[in-house]
Amino acid sequence: MTLATQTGKLPVERRGVFSKKLSGILEPYLYVSPALVLIIAVMLMPLILGLSYAFRDIRILNPFSGGFVGMAHFQTLMSDQAFLGALANTAWWTFGSLVFQFGLGLILALLLNRAFLGRGLIQALVFLPWAVPTFLSGLNWAWMFNPVVGPLPHWMTSLGLMAEPYNILSDPDLAMWGPIIANIWFGIPFFAITMLAALQSIPKELYEAASIDGATTRQQFISITLPFLAPTIAITLMLRTIWIANFADLIVVMTKGGPADSTQIVASYIFTQAFRRLDFGYASAIAAVLLVLLLAYALSVIALRRAMTHSDN
């Protein structure tokens, strides 16, 4: 990474000045350029191209399509009941998954943060679902919800949750729970890993000091653990919300958005529009709206956090 290096004890030639200054300034860019080129070429350019589709009529099977349609897609969208339903489903899917992933992930992290016999092995086992390819988990969970080949409906019946074993994935009122449960299973490890990392970076002396000051375990949790975890929790929750809202794989595999669109979320609706109806223009318009909504969500969370930390001081 050096352009001009000189050895020996000769006086430096003045032309070296320029090249060293220049190489010093350029150096960081040399390190980041591969990533930058890749991201611009494979993510940013396609994004812009994709956004432009939102204003065009692009249907793969229609040779006359391709024209500019202005805001037409967005106008259709405003009155598209399926889309509006998908928006509501997205909120339900996202927060339903998130609450349990986070709550259970935090509990798991707290459990793993104490030393006990076999912790290493247990940790590896409970983190395993994260490594399972998502469509495989989807298929497997769909299988387990099926009363013919899966145990879950029978268990729920014996627990009195169901009158008789049936497949909740075909019940419009309950179907969303199927993908959500699969998603919880898949997502707990992520939260557990992140929270465990944050827990382990809390200095032990703080707990020792607090216990000398007479704090009970619960008081220590409230006055030390939670404040320390708060920044990590805030960031992870925000990133995960966005990620889950965009995450259609499990739904596409398990229910395809059905029955009767009861599990259709925006991300899976985009998928349906693009690859079942082959209407890329409309799909891009939906995607653009989703992107804007998610950006707005992220920015408002960041703004809220900033406002809160400022009022603290």
Binding site: V12, V17, K21, G24
Partner: protein
């Protein structure tokens, strides 16, 4: 070995100026100590010499060659970091030989150099260990060893002893001095500990807010501080300062010089160069230059606040003219707190500073001209 010249070197981070034009010539083989309060720019200056920070403007030369645009590796200097910066994945021997290996030194030569240096520093038994398995003092030695094996043109030290306990620090202080005598290498040593500065330096460079305040031998800096900052920073316990006005007549109207303190009492001083009647001045007196009078007939009245026995000596805290002062005495006084004593100032040793510019106004006639070298 080499000399180092720094000419009008400046450093700024964006709009913040950290160093404002540093001029300093370090001769071949000299041991220079940079001292100053936290944040004054010592590390920055040292890192500029090392090549780890760019120089915003000005020149730095080593052995007569401008090195502004040389990479650290091409400057032939060694540095000991405050954190030691030992490579955690290498053994002690590998740590010390890394630089030589990079220079493609012959294997046998490296082995000789390592054995030799390990001997000097008492590391022979530890050569195969990883830094993790060493005590703080041992790590410090390895860091020293890593610098020494290279026989560089100059050594740079950034607070190398600040992580050690007092006893070890004292011991390493002498060892570094001995090593320097033995190797004769040009050294620049950064510390904020003024005792290290006093005991180790050939010359002290006192810095404040990115400006060199004074350069001189430890005794010179101690005895003839250039301004209030240097006077207050060097010396422990610190110098006492009492504000007042300069007067050219004493209480009886005779010609002389004195400083009228806020309570109206007059302290006699040697006539100060450039001082005029009624000028606002500050009297500076080191604790050892104030004596407690045996009776109430002479000197100024002061009230005892605290007696601090220090073993060899005793430090008396008192209030004089409304100001707290410290008095150093070899006696073992047993005054009660709140009792009144009388003190007098050693006229030849106290300093007069201009309160406004904070500069020292030296006596018109130096009392011991022979002292300067």
């Amino acid at each position: 070995m080499a000399s180092i010249e720094i000419a009008n070197a400046r450093k700024s981070y964006g709009a913040v100026d950290v160093l404002h034009g540093i001029d300093l010539d370090i001769s071949d083989g000299e041991f220079i100590v940079l001292v100053g309060p936290s944040g004054c720019g010592k590390s920055t200056l040292l890192r500029m010499i090392a090549g780890l920070e760019d120089i915003t403007s000005g020149d730095i030369s080593i052995a007569g060659n401008v090195v502004n645009d040389l990479q650290p590796k091409d400057r032939d200097i060694a540095m000991v970091f405050q954190s030691y910066a030992l490579y955690p994945h290498m053994s002690v021997a590998e740590n010390m030989s890394y630089a030589l290996t990079l220079r493609k030194t012959a294997k046998e030569k490296i082995a000789d150099a390592i054995t030799n240096v390990a001997d000097i520093l008492g590391l022979s038994a530890l050569l195969e260990r990883r830094p993790k398995a060493l005590s703080g003092g041992q790590r410090q030695r390895v860091a020293m060893g890593r610098a020494i094996v290279r026989k560089p043109q100059a050594f740079l030290f950034d607070e190398p002893l600040s992580n050690l306990d007092a006893r070890l620090r004292e011991q390493m202080r002498t060892e570094i001095r001995k090593l320097h005598r033995r190797l004769g290498a040009t050294s620049v040593y950064v510390t904020h500990d003024q005792i290290e500065a006093m005991t180790m330096a050939d010359r002290i460079v006192a810095m404040h807010d990115g400006i060199i305040q004074q350069v001189g031998s430890p005794v010179e800096i101690y005895d003839h501080p250039a301004n209030i900052f240097v006077a207050s920073f060097i010396g422990s316990p610190a110098m006492n300062f009492l504000e007042g006005t300069y007067e050219t007549k004493d209480d009886n109207g005779a010609d002389g010089a004195g400083i009228r303190l806020s309570d109206g009492s007059l302290v006699a001083v040697l006539p100060a160069r450039g001082a005029t009647n009624n000028q606002a001045v500050t009297l500076g007196a080191r604790p050892e230059h104030i004596t407690i009078a045996p009776d109430a007939n002479s000197g100024l009245a002061a009230r005892i606040d605290l007696i601090e026995p220090m073993g060899l000596s005793t430090l008396v805290h008192a209030t004089l003219a409304g100001k707290p002062i410290k008095i150093f005495t070899m006696d073992r006084p047993d005054y009660a707190v709140d009792s009144t004593i009388h003190v007098s100032f050693d006229m030849e040793k106290v300093h007069v500073f201009d309160t406004k510019s904070e500069l020292r106004l030296p006596p018109v006639i130096e009392p011991h001209p022979g002292h300067r070298d």
